[in-house]
Amino acid sequence: MDLSRFHAVFVEEAAEHIENLENGLLQLEKTPDDSELLNDIFRSAHTIKGSSGTVGLPDISRFTHVMEELLDDLRNKALTLHRDMINALLEAVDMIKEMIAAVGDKTEFEFARCEPLMERIRALQGKQTPETAHALEKNAATANGHEGQLFLISFVPSPDLFRQGCDPAKLLDELAELGSIESIQADTNAVPPLVELNPETLYLSWQIKLRTSLDKEAVQDVFVFVEDDCSIEITPLLTPQQEIPLLGKLLTEEGIVSEEDVRKALTKQKKLGEILVSQGKTSQAEISKVLEKQGVQKAESFKKAVSSSIRVDLNKLDNLVNLVGEMVITQSMFQQVMAEWQQGSANGFGHATERTDRLFSQLQRIGKDIQEGTMALRMLPVGEVFQRFSRLVRELATSKGKDIELVISGEDTELDKGVLEKVTDPLVHLIRNAVDHGIESTEERTAAGKPAGSTVFLRAYQLGDAVYIEVEDDGRGLDRDRIIAKALSNGVINSEAGLSEDEICNLIFLPGFSTADKITDISGRGVGMDVVKRNIEALKGSVQLRTRKGHGTTVSIRLPLTLAIIDGLAASIGDEVFIIPIASVVESLRPAQHVVHTVEEQGELVNVRGEYIPLIRLSRALEIPGKQQNPWEGIAVVTHYQNRKYGLMVDELLGEQQVVLKNLGSATPKVQDISGGTIMGDGRVALVLDVAGIVQMAHV
């Protein structure tokens, strides 16, 4: 049977378990005694192993089995966890990712690539360090006379082999006599299900690893009677220690060393880089450069997009289904009322109208709930994306030799799926920046009297009509003087006079701006912050940067809740109607004359129960004529933005209503204080105000 049709389902299912494994392992490093967590990780590995076996992917199954065994030993407390194990297991997760990606792309994955890692994991399980394990293994191999060349034998026999009176098992037995079979795997993919099976046709083929002191010809001889119509490939394999790791490949590619040197270096059980340096083949600087590149390549894999399908909380769906049920009931009740009406029922006309009214308002309520429920389906918790960053920070920090912990909060904050997808890339960039430039080297930190371990915070929260995502580090902070110097030399500004601290910091969002002394591959090539800003602005969001020299930097991204239907407060200014999103409204009041104060050159303030709130006259901000000239004749709508309150002065309030937010279209230039337009119940067009934009424009 062709099991490959199950592969797509397997790939999808496995992706979830892989994520679980990865996050679990990272968590486990922090809380090694959490047995519940360990069980959870074990279960994920076990599921991958089981389901890959079921759908005919024995390679993945075999590989995961090794992981599972190590996890099982940890679970049974036969082993205690240490960092080497987490590293090996994380690498194993990467390997499984690659294997599964190969299944998804329908490409071949060379299983031999797993061998070194499998061996390492087994060594860890042997309660020895990998080095001693290798040594012991080697001794054992010599003692048993098992040392010799490893051959990978691919044996695809003729389908007619049985009819020729030959049992391949005999050949395999003969092969075993030549040395030791390290692994043998029958490929059963071509075997059909029983009803289609011709028992006299051979569908199997084999991959065998044989270690023998004999040469290739001797191995070939085993197949001498069948080689005419069978396909036999015998390839001498590198021993696992000779497998060239990524760094080696990169060094060769860059032309820094020859492959030969790498191989020689690999025969020694030391860090590859150190050996090449000590042999004078390259310098430490070159190695570091390539090491960084290695870090970047690893980081690239985190940029994968959010999948195109969406996972919906069952409660949300149940809720919707309930509402639809209610709607159907109301509909049939309507029908009945109409029927009674037509028959001129004894209940009388008045009674029917009353019932219609009641049913109508019920229908309205249901409609509104369905609307909200449907919009909520698009919302995803940011945790899905955030979790991935733990790994990113761990890898980047290791490659930079820094000790950094990523603290995540607000994973449950929900964002529209489309927005979440697009915000991932800028976040990767910000986090890389924090790790690379924000956080000082350990020596620098110690010299500055800070703890060597540093922290990067990634948090999300909802405030009013927006979601905020912040990346904060406790590093060196931005150097104000250097930014100014750079801006002056770039001609971005002419003088620093009149620039606030905030404005200076936000200069780095301008194109072509980087103050990094050292340009590395991880970040800091002068492109970046402006791209981050552009990406966020494309989502109608904004980026703010706060920094304190020596204490750290916070980049805060504000993203509007993209719900297309918003609750709004309709207010009139002159002849125009504007909608203020309810989510940002605190209260509305008509200030008495004596609580309105004018501050010289600072505008007006309203004293609301002892709190002074800046007053923004919308008629002035929007440059349209208003009916009321004095605040005590109009209405002050108190809104909040970034933890501060602002009073927006309007002529009068028209009421609260739900409006469908529409884009103004590309023909209109970008207006900061308007987030869109809507059509009111009476057909008039009203503009929806963007409170954040207004506050920023008003400079209060």
Partner: protein, 84 residues
């Protein structure tokens, strides 16, 4: 109810046809099936291949299928790299 099918003796390609028929019947008549190979003294590649095909058929028919093997059977399956 789990159906039981016990196979004995030396299973070779000579009885392959017969074995296929037996296994097909067993798969059709039972919601789940256990094939007992503990009394099998020997088996060849052709028969091992039939067992693989049986397993695939069981997956296709959504019938849980289990095997129990004699040491000789386990040994043979291992040396030809087949996991049931």
């Amino acid at each position: 109810m789990t159906g039981q099918l016990e196979l004995t003796g030396e299973l070779t390609i000579g009885m392959a046809e017969e074995l296929v028929t037996t296994l097909q019947k067993a798969l059709q008549g039972n919601p789940q099936l256990h094939v007992d190979l503990t009394a099998v003294e020997q088996l060849d590649t052709a028969v091992a291949q039939i067992l693989v095909a049986t397993k695939l058929q069981a997956i296709q028919n959504a019938i849980p299928l289990t095997f129990s093997c004699s040491p000789a059977v386990s040994q043979r399956l291992r040396t030809i790299g087949i996991q049931l």
